[in-house]
Structure formats: structure tokens, C-alpha cells
Amino acid sequence: MFLAIKEIKREKLRYGLIILMIFLISYLIFILSSLAVGLASQNTQALESWDIRQVVLNKNANVNMSQSVLNETDLKHANLTKDEALLGQTPVVAKSKNRPQVSAQFIGIKKAQFIYQDQEIIAGRKANNSSEVVVDQAFKVKGYQLGDYLQLNNSKKKYQIVGFAKDAKINIAPIIFGTLATWKTLRQGMPNMQASAIMSRRADYRNNHGNNQTYTIKYFINKLPGYTAQNMTFQLMISFLFGISLIIIAVFLYILTMQKMHNFAVMRAQGIPSATLIKATISQALMLVIIGVILGLLAMTLTAKLLPAAVPMSFTPEIVLSGTIGMMITGLIGSLIPIRSILKVDPVKAIGE
């Protein structure tokens, strides 16, 4: 540690540049991770807030809730308890006088079931009838207010906003909560249709009668349109960044070590053990990474504060922890590469040079 700190203090420019690079990489990792988590969360935050374990859809809907329709026959053997809720989903365009149009997902629910009962309202109240809706807070950001009247698609009927709900997004679109009756009107499809899906909070709930198919929530989420592709793209970018930072740290440390070989030989000749030099190299790498990551975290915190709410960014403690640990491991691996050279330092080289 002593040698590592002294050398960084003496060679400020050289080590400053390495820290700058680690800072920029960690900053980029934090931004991409926050965006990945933010976007993933906007796909699933409603499902997560309902604590769903199993989803029953029409087996011909290709695991797509807005394409699924369950009719009376399909629900005959549903055995619905307090842990199940019927849900109707359809994409809509919402508009209101003097307000921008919003592409949203209409979710029809039943008052007696848990999705309605567990709704977290951040302003206003829950909807009491078919003419009232509760909307996601994203509407508030776009200028919508309590009491505004919405028109959905081409329907002439108007629905009054009576509440704003927290974390109410699915497929990156804000949700408009209404009744199943309203959903049936908007969906305009098959006769006798009752819902798009049955949502269950029970892990052991199954309903595979007739056209029904039960899916785990994990499988259902992975099949959300674009969800897996989007996550894999981010994971690939983040993995590449970790790979690049590993190469940068390893290459820089290797070059620095090669430049210091004569110093190491002199120190070895004077009896300084290899272990001291190895510890200095590893602690130096970790110090560079820690300083770079702390700067990255500070920049990211500032960025998260300054970015508009519309940017789907979620800077969570999990991201801080995983990003920091990831970079530390990267730094540790990077510092192991020059160790072989340090172990092979021949103190005889210090003589006669």
C-alpha cells in the first residue's frame, strides 16, 4: 500500500489518466445499467407491484396478453380465489383537450379483486365506476390533471381521471386502469369475452383447460415484446465494457510494470520481498479502480438528478453494488497479469546496469 500510494502521488498525470479512463468506463457502465434496469422496470413494474406468480392466457395468443382473449367457457374451471384476478389489456391512444396524445395500455380490472384493491394511488382516489379511470403518473408528467376527461381511441365516450397510480407501466407504456366492461367496449372482438388473462399470486395455480395455458411470471415477462432482446443488448454492451476495462487495466499495469522492472530489480537486490511488490501492484490497481468508480458514481448521481423524468433511468443500490464489485474484480484480474513478470524479476539485473 505504501509503495502504491507514494507512486500514485508522485506520478499524478500518469495515474490520473488511468483513473480518468476507469471513471469514464464505470460512468458508462452505471448509465447503461441504469437505463437497462429502468427500461426493464417499465416493462414489468405493474406486474411486479401486483406480485404475480402465474399468468393464464389463451394458448393461441403466443404469450401476448393484449392478443389473448378468455371467454366464459375458458373461465368455467378457473377456480378463482382472492389470489386471482381477471384482467383485460388492450393498447389505446388517450387524448384530452389541450393535452398531448399518449400511447397507453388500457387495463380493465374488477373492483372485487386484488389488483384493484392493492392499487397504490399517489394522488386522487380509485375509480368507482365505468366512467372513471386511474392513470399512471406518467400522465401527470405530460400535464394531465385530476378531473381531466380522456377519450380513448375513436370512442366518443369520455373517462374522467380520478387518480394517479404509482409504478403502473407495462410494455414501457403507462397504464390506464378502468373496468373490464370498458375493456370489452374498447377491445371489440369475440362474443362472450371475459378477460385477456387470469393473474394469480399463487405459485401453484394452474389452469390448462381447453384453450387456456398457464405460464410462470418469469416466462411471461421474458416473452413480453422486445423485452429479452432489449435486455440482452444492454447485457452485451455492459459485458463488453467490463471486458474493455479489464484489457485497459491489464495493459496499463503491464506497461507500467515493465517500465518499473529495473526499480523492482533494485528493490529485490536490496532484499525487498516479491510479496511486497505484488501487494503494491494489486493494491495500486484496486486504488485506481476505487477512485475511478467513486468518481463514476458521483457523476452518475449528478446525471440521475439532472436528467428529465421522461428518461427511463433507474439508478438503484443494486446497480451501485454490482457495478462497483464488477469493476473491483476486473481491476483485481487486471493486476494479476503483471504479477508473473514481478515474480520473475531477477535481482542480478540491478547489478552492472
Binding site: F2, L3, K6, E7, K9, R10, E11, H262, N263, V266, M267, R268, A269, Q270, G271, I272, P273, T276, P347, V348, A350, I351, G352, E353
Partner: protein, 225 residues
């Protein structure tokens, strides 16, 4: 009893046609308070002598005895420890750690060797004697060649070794500094009771030596007082 003794030491590099005999039947000894010069032209085997006497490498045959203990077969770790505790090296120019201030060169020794280093009082006295007391907060590249050499001497003495091995200690010094360093080695050997072995081809150091060994083609060809 001699502080350091080499008995019939031989060092051979390579095998077969590539075989090079770097040292042949070397017999040598130095006692505390002695300043011993190892002289000879380039390629005479002076550096190989230094590396074997300093336990940086092992002889092919023969014995190297330091303080009565045969060090010819020590492990790497034991050799390391020997160099840290009993042998002080003064190498050619630029042998200080470049990113450590003068005072930190001593602190580095403290970190790896906790006991038996010279006391702060003695160190201050030594630094005054070496005329480097006011340089403790300077980095090596802020010092002249002579100043760097004096810091290197202080650093070698700091661990309180019995033997000081110096490799071409006057290589980058002008005549005035050569005399100063020569006188200094002589005083240090007497006052601090060290065996000082100087490997050099600089004849200006002869007047400070108690013994002079001349080497040629890996052999000691002349040994005089």
C-alpha cells in the same frame, strides 16, 4: 573471524560449447572495518563476484560464508532476508526508488524490516555527516549524482548490515565527489564497523582501500594490502 569469506568459489554459466567460466577458484575474505577494492577490466568477473558475495545468485561450487554461516545453498526467501538484514547494496547511479522521497527510502526499509535498523538519532547524525540532512523531502531526480550516491549509502547503512557491497560507486561522479565518497566509505567502515567491498575499475579509490584484489578472466590475480 572474517565477516565474509569466499572459499574456492567457481561460477559457470551454460553447458557444452556455450559454457562460460565466470569465476575460477576465488578465495577472498573481508573483516569489519576493512575497505576492500575489487578491481579489474570489464569482463574480469567483478560483477559476478558481487552477485555471489551478495547472495543474488549461487556459486556453481565453493563456499560463501557470511558471519560464519554458509550462504551458498540458501532458498530465495532466505537469500532475500540475508540481503535485507546483513548486506547493504550501493548500486550504480539511479538505484534509488524514483517515486520515493529521500526520507521515504528509509521508511520503505522500516516497512519490510522492523528490527535492528539504526535509530532515528543515529540516522540524523549519519545524514548530517553525509551532508544530506536538508534533502530528506526531495525526490531522487531532484538530486545531483553525488547527492544520490550519498543517499544510497545512507539507505544501505540504515538497515544496519555487517557488509556494504558497492558496485562502481563512483561511476557517475567527478574527481571531487570521488574523493569525498572514498573518504566516506573509509570513515564508515571504521566508525560503523562494516566490511566495505567496492567493486570498481576506478583507480582513484585505491588510496582509500585496506586491501585490493585484482581480477582478470574470472580469477583473482593479485591480492595486496
Amino acid at each position: 573471524m572474517a565477516v565474509i569469506e569466499l572459499n574456492n568459489v567457481q561460477k559457470v554459466y551454460g553447458k557444452g560449447a556455450a559454457k562460460v567460466v565466470a569465476l575460477k577458484d576465488i578465495n577472498f575474505k573481508a573483516d569489519e572495518g576493512d575497505v576492500v577494492l575489487i578491481m579489474g577490466p570489464s569482463g574480469a568477473g567483478k560483477s559476478t563476484f558481487l552477485t555471489i558475495a551478495g547472495s543474488l545468485q549461487k556459486p556453481t561450487s565453493g563456499q560463501v560464508i557470511v558471519g560464519g554461516e554458509d550462504i551458498s545453498h540458501l532458498s530465495t526467501k532466505q537469500s532475500n532476508n540475508l540481503r535485507l538484514t546483513r548486506i547493504g547494496f550501493v548500486l550504480q547511479a539511479y538505484n534509488l526508488v524514483p517515486f520515493l522521497k529521500v526520507k521515504e527510502q528509509f521508511q520503505l526499509v522500516d516497512r519490510v524490516k522492523k528490527d535492528n535498523n539504526i535509530s532515528l538519532v543515529v540516522l540524523k547524525k549519519l545524514l548530517r555527516r553525509l551532508k544530506i540532512s536538508d534533502l530528506v523531502n526531495k525526490y531522487p531526480n531532484e538530486l545531483s549524482g553525488g547527492q544520490q550516491q550519498r543517499v544510497a549509502i545512507a539507505r544501505a547503512l540504515y538497515a544496519n548490515p555487517e557488509i556494504i557491497l558497492a558496485d562502481e560507486p563512483t561511476a557517475s561522479l567527478d574527481s571531487e565527489n570521488v574523493d569525498e565518497v572514498g573518504q566516506l566509505f573509509k570513515e564508515l567502515a571504521k566508525d560503523y564497523h562494516k566490511a566495505v567491498i567496492l567493486v570498481t575499475h576506478d583507480p582513484r579509490l585505491k588510496k582509500y582501500a585496506d586491501y585490493i584484489y585484482e581480477m582478470m578472466d574470472g580469477k583473482i590475480v593479485n591480492n595486496r594490502q
